[in-house]
Point group: D2
Chain length 387, copies 4
């Protein structure tokens, strides 16, 4: 558990980071929502701010005056049952509040928070909510990167975001297969540091022998799959995946473009030639599974991944696992608004492990359980094989 002083620093850094990410945008880029999964950047900035006003200031800062009475309605995401859906698909239709308004809102709430944190000692529960709020904002920072990439990368003009963001680190080492022997292992988070509820409930699990690759699958390797007709071989795909491939004419990872016979990739630095040795990214679970089938191998389960992760490098791609997202055996649902929705997404989603080039510093760890629907590709996803 962080001290209040450490928390002040975490809070300040986190708030600054979000604004730094957006500092490369034009006003117009803050507004649009090309698909339902992508939220407008201004919404992320407002929503993470609303969180602190709603769950900290309203409760613990006695004299706090709300910045605006309509804020909650616009920036709430899923904490109310009915309004939720309407708002989510409508986020990109709202030109107001403006970007300037949102920055004012941020400044107002950041200042009020700092005043609160600097003026009195908060109890443990309050500090815990502040900490959650910082991690919540860090999660949205990753979404800011991926949503900005979607917005710019699906514009016919392919504008670049900036020149700095490095999304294709090379794995310049040899592929090796790490052997993990059969046995009972323990997984889950037992540390006192921050983690999400779904990581808790450390428990034993039995694993059979397996071998796991020390490297992620690369672009060059994925091209072999494409050239071998992988996208056209029904036997490699789940039934629902095959429908998805055909209805959407999927024939390469997302953001790939074949121009004059050469594969290119849209990146946050603009359109570039595909880098063969970079780990493949922006692929669905379906594509990861099909590739593994084609190789006669498979994806790891999340238990295997967590057990073996100490022996390989990870963190540049969220790694699809074979595991469907479901609660750990000892999981107990916490009370209250912050915890109550944890079980809500535990169906039809696959667990991803690790972290990506877009994950905020200090935000992931080896027990972190990310999850997405198997067809989604706008995150920096990748995979490694098990045999």
């Amino acid at each position: 558990m962080l001290s209040q002083q450490e928390l002040i620093q975490l809070f300040q850094e986190t708030r600054k980071d979000s604004e730094h990410i957006c500092s490369f945008l034009e006003t117009e880029d803050y507004v649009v929502q090309p698909i339902v999964d992508v939220s407008p950047p201004k919404w992320h900035l407002g929503h993470t701010t609303w969180f602190f006003e709603e769950f900290v200031l309203k409760k613990y800062a006695d004299s706090h005056k709300l910045f605006d009475d309509n804020t909650a309605y616009v920036f709430n995401s899923y904490y109310e049952s009915v309004g939720d859906k309407v708002i989510r698909t409508n986020r990109g239709n709202l030109s107001r509040p403006t970007v300037a308004w949102i920055y004012d809102f941020r400044k107002y709430v950041t200042n009020a928070m700092l005043e609160l944190l600097n003026s009195q000692q908060l109890d443990e529960q309050a500090l815990s909510v502040v900490e959650i709020g910082c991690h919540h904002e860090k999660q949205h920072q990753e979404l800011l990167y991926t949503d900005i990439k979607y917005i710019l990368g699906n514009n016919p003009l392919f504008p670049k975001y900036n020149d700095e963001f490095e999304e294709n680190p090379i794995q310049d080492f040899k592929r090796e297969w790490l052997m993990v022997p059969e046995g009972v292992y323990e997984i889950g988070n037992k540390s006192d540091d921050f983690c999400y509820d779904n990581e808790k409930g450390a428990h034993k699990t039995f694993l059979c022998d397996f071998e796991v690759s020390n490297k992620l699958v690369t672009n060059a390797e994925f091209i072999e799959f494409i050239e071998a007709g992988g996208y056209k071989d029904v036997l490699l795909w789940h039934a629902e995946a095959w429908d998805w491939v055909n209805e959407n004419n999927i024939n390469s990872p997302f953001y790939w473009h074949k121009i004059d016979g050469k594969w290119h990739q849209y990146t946050l630095n603009g359109l570039i030639k595909l880098i063969p040795d970079a780990p493949v990214t922006h692929i669905s679970y379906y594509e990861a599974f099909a590739y593994a089938q084609w190789k006669g191998m498979r994806l790891p389960t999340e238990q295997e991944w967590e057990t073996a992760q100490q022996y390989f490098e990870w963190g540049s791609r969220w790694e699809w696992t074979e595991s469907a997202y479901s609660p750990y055996p000892n999981y107990t649902k916490p009370d209250g608004a912050l915890g109550e929705y944890n079980g809500k997404f535990m169906v039809n989603q696959k667990v991803l492990r690790g972290g990506s080039v877009a994950t905020s510093a200090k935000h992931t760890r080896h027990t972190y359980r990310n999850f997405f629907h198997p067809q989604l590709r706008w995150q920096f996803t990748g995979f490694r094989l098990v045999k």
Copy 2:
């Protein structure tokens, strides 16, 4: 036909008017597209500019250098067959080009046009395209008003556009029924002034006796229909209208809100109390028809409207007629890109006559044939009865 000098003035006024309309917007308001029928204001500004560059400057200004090679792709609307649909629903997903870029584009093209118009005498065909371009932009000015109203009026914060726009002129005179006797009448446009192709082909038509109201149906009258259960009486509605009413839970004109038991209306001046004597507006053909059924009357045909219009005031509401939009008997399709799509919309649309509070000065006339699908409501539509 206007002289080149008159045309320069029309052109300058028209360009200025579009920018004046948008001068009340925030940058964010230029970007969004809440429904497919509504285009982002920045798209209207770009598209009307593209028109002059594509059809005038490229053809008649020898040394003209395109402002940007990607413009056409983004601002073309329906003049290419396949790209059309993709772009239309995507207009609101494009944060680039920016608003600033579009104003630069406008300035560049306006200047190039004025240079062309001031430096050499254009032939009749060229002048005719310039004139069409001005009217084309005036049409988009009306869409700017209605699309801005949609964007702001469907925002939960109900921001106002400005304080000036007057959308509810009162008809403070008594209702009278004008008798038009049976006979052969001529309709269509025979003037030398500008008009659209679909108005030409003046021809005779036979009309039976009819009586037409000198007044549009008012808000107060429409409330009677609502209170009599008009929206719930299947016998008043077309089969397709009844589905539409029920699937969309339609129970009042668009932009009406019942707040604390009182009807309000969102207007470009913000949310106001409904004005009983103002002509009802933002209603579909279906609702106009149902109201007429309920009164035991009917809507005029466009031939009746055109014949009788000299005896009543019109111009505050586009008036739904009973006529389906189809070509006039002597209509011949003109050649070339500008004319070729005239027949394209002549199915499943109803003719509207008159003009509205949002129609640009000098843009409408008694032979003008507007047309929309019968369920659309975001224009300033209204109706008058015939018996």
Copy 3:
């Protein structure tokens, strides 16, 4: 107006004809509903019977006992507002009541009707309902043919219906263009014989000069359009038609199949080689319009058709006209359940005139106004040109 004796004969013939049409079916053919526009044959047999029980026997046969209390629910079509839609798309999901039950129901009602008609003199209103009931059943006879054709013709086994039905009469005469001079003409039905409400209200209309073909467009002529790329030329199509063509991959009339490079047509006699000189059929209004555009001609309006029809042969194809379906000027909606829905379909539909090889004897006439949505093709539709 028919005498009661004549009506008895009409009734008996009509009832027999429906059963004769179905005598060529297997039990299974009575049950299915491949698309919403097509009703299961057993539904037609039941619905036409329900009509007589509901509107005649319940009202005029004092001691009539309903065959079954649930009949109305299943066989009502659109005479109740809410239940309607649910039932229409569900008709093909109902295995009960069985076909045998429906024939028992028919026999019971036919006998009760004959007993009523033979035992007492009915008043004029009652006789008029009986006459409408016969014409209603004749309308459903045409639907029986076209629905059976759809059911069998979309089965991969292409079963034939019978060997007798003649659907491709040749027009073995030369094409000529009949000149109709400008003037005021009268259209509409003024006879005392049976006609539908929508034909009444005879009235004057002004027609400009036109020339109309004495022949329908033939299969051979339509092949020229296909081979000239007609289905791929966006300029020939309405905006909505172009979407329809592309979303449904339309590239020939319905029921055409190219087998080993030769055009074939599914007919009620099974799959045959296309007959070049037969009038083209099973085409949408959109296709008729596109063909006319391609020829530089147009379709007649319904007023033109009715005025000119005395000079050409008609009756093998329902002929698409350019006219949108709307009420005649003097039309007044009759009261009561039988009449109340007449205005209900008067939007987004095109008028067809004439009749087809599937139209029952004595069922059509030169004032008959049929109407369908412009994309529908399962009726025996065709067209002739005007210039």
Copy 4:
């Protein structure tokens, strides 16, 4: 492994059983397909027959002449990639081949099979395909029951199937909680008797302590959940489940009808009063999960179920588990058409264990892994709780 003699008996019984199930139907009942998940009974009869002709007779009966060359096209289900979907949704549109034709087809294939089985000793692989074919047909027997129930139970006339089928066995014993201690257990099928590939690959698994109910949840217990507002409490439902509940207005198990304030249930014996002590059935995984949330308990995993099943009675309801369907650790995909699709459904489905009143004799076992999408309700599904 069964001997050839035992297999002949299994085959004969199986073929007879399918026909016995259908002996209570009218011809019309064989034809319809009210939803995509339900196939017409005649399709089941044909498809199971096609299986024997395609995979046994074509391969092992040298002189076998196909009954009809078009059979495969109509009765294949998913063994071809592209044709599949088109056919599945179309099954209910095909009136031909007729029911009589299908019974002829069955007789022909049954006879050819018996001739083959009685005339020569088949090798092990051939016998194995025959055995699979029998179990395949037994699977379709369960679908026959559930599909027939859907067809009759969604008919407004609620016809009964027969008087014999017993679908609501009472559990007349006390609820007890069976304690299973933490430890490594083995699951999977190691027997030599027939089982499906997905059960093989027996392996160890680690289970934490748990207690499982000896009884399924009953109708009376489920009514408590309804009356406590369970269907209206968003906190009990997965995000996707909540959408499903609201879009489909779900407020009770499938086939339940509240008539005059009393719960009734459509059963294969017709509409009856709900039996309080019978195990609840026709519920989705979502409803089972919501009920468990409401009780503060959970569903078992499939590993827990298999380990504990020896201590409780099972077989009247397919029991939803918490486990997503995925391959066992040692699973290896078999070659060839029969095996190749095993992995195809292993995403977005939940495992069900046990068996139901509609499961054929000898068809299920304690290692059997059934699986369905979490929203499906037309099977005889139920659940038991774990704490």
